[in-house]
Symmetry: C2
Subunit: 752 residues, 2 copies
């Protein structure tokens, strides 16, 4: 744990520049607008350790799979989120002295991320000049990034600034195992007002399209005296005179266009020119206002207020800010990468995290169209899912563990081939969207192709065990990735059974066109019903200090392990993934994230309170929460079981995971998809939000150290504000028609 | 299956040069003398597909481990058998026409490997000249490789040959995933009589010593007119005049010295010069005779004759020839690589194959010192085994899956971390050596360090399962690599228990010096006994077409699988490792090689005939034999169970695995360690050879289609000849004092 930023409800701010925390600072002050984004690196030269990173949504490179020993079915390539051209680069001299905060003596340093308006601000005083920088990627104009400088003399002298502003395409990817440069320059040019570089990803042998990215920079202020063009870089040179009194402003605007939106190189370049000209019609104040208003609108739907715990307050806003920076549902070709625009670790744009954790949040804080975009993304990648199932010799659709284009691009067999429970979560998201929004049109339409193709996969993936007269699922990795290749993972089996049951339940409902396309036979329906009836689900009585308890067993042989609770083990073994060899982790009973409990998180009403309590009490003491996705699930379940202290402990871990660098890896980038967890813990956990039979249910309680919390909630065309304090819970209707909800077990009709 | 060589009892010969079979031809006609070896590539230019490969025993390179996602405990490097400098290279012109059999028209082509004398012969007629080449690496003079040419005019004209003979250090490794050049040139030079290149492996960051290899070429015959030196190559240029009648000879001798035997570069070069001068004192006939005599001596101890089945005859000699070419116990720093000197696939010099399959053969065909060298190799690498166990957080010694230096260098977790049954096989080899030779001195001396350190590993690797009140071993891969990360693999548990029992049984016997060094406590001995008493071994009754049978279960959940016999599956799924995705293989019941049955192969007397029969009948129909090590074990067990037809079927598959390219991968190199299998099938299988209580037992039968077989056997200072024909079995004492053996259940005393 390491906290480098100050506690502040709307701002992430520090007055220290500690070289060893530079990457941490950069990750946490990242910016994004779904279309593109960047880490919080400085624009000017910084000769200390730094990770410069700018990423474009949906732009990636298929890097050849390299493994020790090839296994049949491996994907041919691993999809990498690639570091794109650096268009914020600057080389700044004050009276001939180069700014490099790793070397200069400077004062009044501050970096602050204004989360309310989505702006990264920075200031420092060096060589007699106070420098103020504001940077944003526009939430209102997707192709636009803006960097605004204000220079002020603080020593009463005039100063001359030389400002060399660049776009640099000579970037390297930071990866665990391989170095690689993935860009070639196709064109570059300049006119009086602006300059540009057009780049393209290098060729690949996998038939993946090459992406073209064009960045054009233009400027307001300063005196331009030339442009330099290198082989992979273009630089515009400016002189800026800082007066003895008052300020001077200088602004750089960058327009990024890509082959994702335009057909030819020429069109992509021309579009960049046109957009540059368009944006130059507006003042800085105008483009800033457009951007900031967009952020204010988001907060209006989504803000969560916490009183009595400023750290918790900052945590939830920090999480929502970065989540919205990564994705706000504008482009159904995009998804929510695990690092967003804050780093390149893990690769791929899309994990099951989206359906498991992000969709439940977007359903509560944004228009249903945002979720529908995410669902559509999976429909659009159905061919890839057919391909993945076929790679395993199976029918139906298998959604990938990691992908950009629908085709699996992770290459560890125990994940790729075995962590197939992900497939059920896609079906769960369809259920979740339908249940919460009440909109059945997606399930009955395109969604049917997704759902029933997943059902087909499961029907082929189970096997019939003769000696047990039951269907089983062997050879899987459950959500607990600290066990591999287990048999009859309770969660996987339960969810496969649920998918088949849900598919059978809704079969009559789907429209004829979808039915014809699916061509499901009567034999299939009979077989699905047989699997539902005879699916094996391991359960057992276990000895506990409170006597024998009945539990659902994580997988066939889990109870044969040495089941010493993690609390009884030496402290210095944690995190076990940094201290134990992989085989020791695998044969230990320690759980990375909720597994059997995960079904109870998805379907809290499908289990009795006793079932939930017995399983929580059995598994939680064995859980090390070394997945960033784990604490929030436990917070919600603990809240459900009225274990308030445990719920709060788990919330705190979820909410400030990155702000406090809990897992000691935030320097690599933020845990974007896990940022959903703090909202889920508050809304589904503390406030007990459920939708049952088209009715919104709330059952709030107030955590011990808080004096109040309040959150906005979007529900079926209404915006509500839920306020919980020591007096009790209150729900206000902010917009929409009157609505009846169930609050603490009672029907309440809300009007404005 | 593909058979490109003719059937011949002592020779591997073909008269065809089929470009698509070139690599197959090269693999099968490889030569070696333990110190070094090479594939059967042509010396002169061959512009078609070819794999040039020359390898030096014990010379390797630690290539950085590259994996998708790093796991704690992975070895830092993968040890590669590296393609060394090409010292047979020649560029030959006849009257200005370059010899290149991929392009020339030629007649009378023949390649033949004379296994009796260890010589590769080749001839062809091109451009009016008959070319005959004899090549061998000397079994009598380890540093010497000899290539002898005879040129004869066949058209009545004189011919002028230009012969450019090279040593080329610019070689590439052929690998599945990475290309790499691992050599740098340190020095080169020439004098009137010879020229040399001194090379060194490139630097590595792992502290593995760099190897220096010096090759010096000298010549008999021809007229030298110069030497060319390139940056990585040296070439001596000769003119050879072919008379109208009679022959002309030309001979190239190469001496290879390495830093394994000499300290400095200078010493290594000087030794090469001295050995070159020494060898030049002898005629070709003399050095050839020394070499051939050595091979005849080997055959005198080891030859197996089969009458009535020439293919079987050729197979067994082919296997013994290549096994002896790879290893004959001269250097305890060397071991038996899975490809020997015939290719570079798999990497590493040492696998459990050595102790499981090769030692049982060497114990029967060679002096006990050969086996003792192999045991000493493991003692010398004990530090590496301690390191490997420590990497997993465990006590004692864990011998590696793949290694050159004792440190594990394979990097797939399911193998490296989990295929730990290999450790017991090292202990088994100690037992096997002691039992067969009657020599307890190794067990009581250095061997004790090995044995008891392995026992310590097992005592720490088991865990106590409270609910079962038994010790278990979770998270292993058994010999059947078609299942990974299973619990309580019968074979692994049985062998771990056996190791602890054997260690307890012999503890009083080991000498005090070894005891003091081991410092085994009384508590440890008590704990070992407790594990032996309470080790869990899964067993069950299964339904078969012959009623309920009791079997030992391969691992905890094996019987829950769909147990359809492989014979009932479509033919086109085989080999399943080329047709099924890895996950499908893992959850299938199909067994790559003997697993539960493997314990019965090691310890045939530890199981009742009913146990052996029940388990053989249960597992064999599920076994696909896709490991080259599998058929021979089944041949031996089938023979033991009087299932003669099955035994012969399995023998045939083992004996001609490479000769008939059974697994369609012999082009990559031969399956050296699997070549032991045909001898084991004949001697332990058909002849029923066992050593019980210091007595040699034989219980031979004659396979149906054979008229006779006979083999030599080394036993405790005696050489026997066992002959089995339709009349019965006869054993003759070839050398040594009178000996009493048990033949077909009767005591027989043999005298000369």
């Amino acid at each position: 744990m390491k906290r480098i930023f100050e506690i502040n409800p709307w701002t992430v701010v520090t007055h220290d520049l500690n070289p060893e925390d530079k990457r941490l600072q950069e990750s946490m002050t990242s910016l994004g607008n779904e279309y593109m984004g960047m880490r919080g690196m400085f624009e000017e030269v910084y000769s200390g350790d730094t990770h410069q990173g700018i990423y474009i949504g949906g732009v990636w490179f298929p890097d050849k799979t390299r493994v020790g020993w090839w296994k049949n079915g491996y994907p041919l390539y691993f999809g990498k989120a690639i570091n794109a051209l650096n268009f914020v680069k600057a080389d700044i001299y004050i009276d001939g002295h180069q700014i490099d905060l790793a070397k200069n003596e400077f004062q009044n340093f501050e970096v602050s991320l204004d989360m309310k308006h989505g702006v990264l601000k920075r200031q420092f005083t060096v060589f007699g000049v106070e420098v103020q920088v504001s940077r944003f990627v526009s939430a209102a104009f997707k192709e636009l990034a803006d960097i605004h400088y204000t220079f002020t003399s603080v020593d009463g002298y005039k100063h001359n600034i030389r400002f060399d502003a660049s776009i640099d395409a000579d970037v390297v990817n930071e990866d665990a195992n391989y170095d690689g440069k993935f860009w070639q320059v196709l064109d570059a040019g300049n006119d009086v007002a602006s300059s540009f570089i057009a780049t393209q990803t290098i060729e690949n042998p996998f038939g993946v399209p090459q992406f073209t990215v064009v960045a054009r920079q233009s400027f307001i202020g300063g005196e331009k005296h030339g442009t330099n063009r290198g082989t992979k870089e273009v630089t515009d040179n400016f002189d800026i005179e800082v007066p003895t009194k008052g300020v001077v402003n200088f602004e750089k605007r960058v327009i990024v266009t890509t082959s994702r939106d335009y057909d030819s190189l020429k069109e992509t370049i021309d579009a960049g020119t046109a957009l540059t000209n368009k944006v130059l019609e507006n003042s800085y104040q105008e483009i800033y206002e457009d951007h900031a208003q967009e952020w204010l609108k988001r907060w209006e739907k989504a803000d969560v207020q916490i009183e009595g715990d400023d750290a918790a307050q900052q945590g939830i806003r920090f999480n929502l800010f970065h989540l919205f920076s990564t994705y706000y549902g504008n482009d159904p070709r995009l998804n929510i990468g695990p690092k967003g625009f804050t780093g390149e670790k893990y690769g791929g744009a899309t994990y099951w995290d989206t359906e498991a954790f992000a969709i439940p949040v977007y359903l509560g804080v944004a228009d249903p169209s945002v979720t529908r975009s995410l669902l559509q993304y999976r429909f659009d990648q159905l061919d890839g899912a057919f391909h993945n199932a076929k790679q395993q010799g199976l029918k139906g659709a298998l959604y990938p563990m990691v992908t950009f284009d629908g085709i699996e691009s992770h290459n560890e067999w125990e994940i790729t081939f075995e962590e197939i429970h992900r497939n059920s979560t896609i079906a769960y998201a369809i259920y979740n969207y339908t249940n919460i929004t009440g909109d059945h049109s997606w399930l009955d339409g395109d969604g049917a192709q997704v759902l029933y193709s997943i059902a087909r996969f499961w029907a082929d993936r189970v096997h019939y065990s003769k000696r047990n007269n039951q269907y089983m699922i062997h050879g899987v990795t459950g959500p607990n990735e600290y066990e591999n290749n287990v048999n009859n993972n309770y969660y996987t089996n339960w969810m496969a059974k649920w998918v088949l049951q849900y598919s059978l339940d809704h079969y009559d409902e789907i429209n004829d066109k979808q039915k014809a396309k699916l061509a499901i036979t009567d034999e299939e329906l009979v077989q699905w019903q047989d699997i539902v009836t005879k699916m094996y689900l391991p359960e057992a009585d276990v000895d506990t200090k409170n006597g024998k308890k009945h539990i659902f067993v994580q997988h066939d042989t889990f109870l044969d392990k040495d089941l010493t609770p993690i609390a009884d083990m030496p402290q210095d073994i944690r995190p076990i993934n940094q201290n134990w060899s992989w085989d020791r982790i695998l044969r230990s009973p320690y759980i990375k994230q909720s597994d059997t409990l995960h079904a109870m998180f998805y379907f809290p009403d499908a289990f009795t309170e006793e079932e939930k309590r017995n399983n929580f009490n059995f598994y939680e003491p064995l859980t090390v929460h070394e997945s960033s996705l784990s604490p929030s699930v436990h917070a919600i379940l603990a809240a459900d079981l009225q274990m308030a202290d445990k719920a709060v402990e788990m919330y705190e871990r979820a909410a400030r995971l990155d702000l406090d660098n809990y897992n000691n890896d935030t320097g690599d980038g933020l845990h974007i998809t896990a940022m959903t967890g703090s909202w889920l813990a508050i809304v589904q956990g503390f406030a007990g939000m459920r939708v049952r039979n088209d009715e919104l249910n709330l059952k709030p309680f107030l955590p011990k150290n808080w004096t109040k919390y309040a959150f906005r909630l979007v529900f079926r065309g209404h915006v509500l504000e839920v306020t919980v304090d020591k007096e009790g819970a209150d729900v206000q209707l902010i917009s929409g028609d009157p609505l009846t909800i169930n609050l603490l077990g009672k029907q309440v009709t809300l009007t404005r």
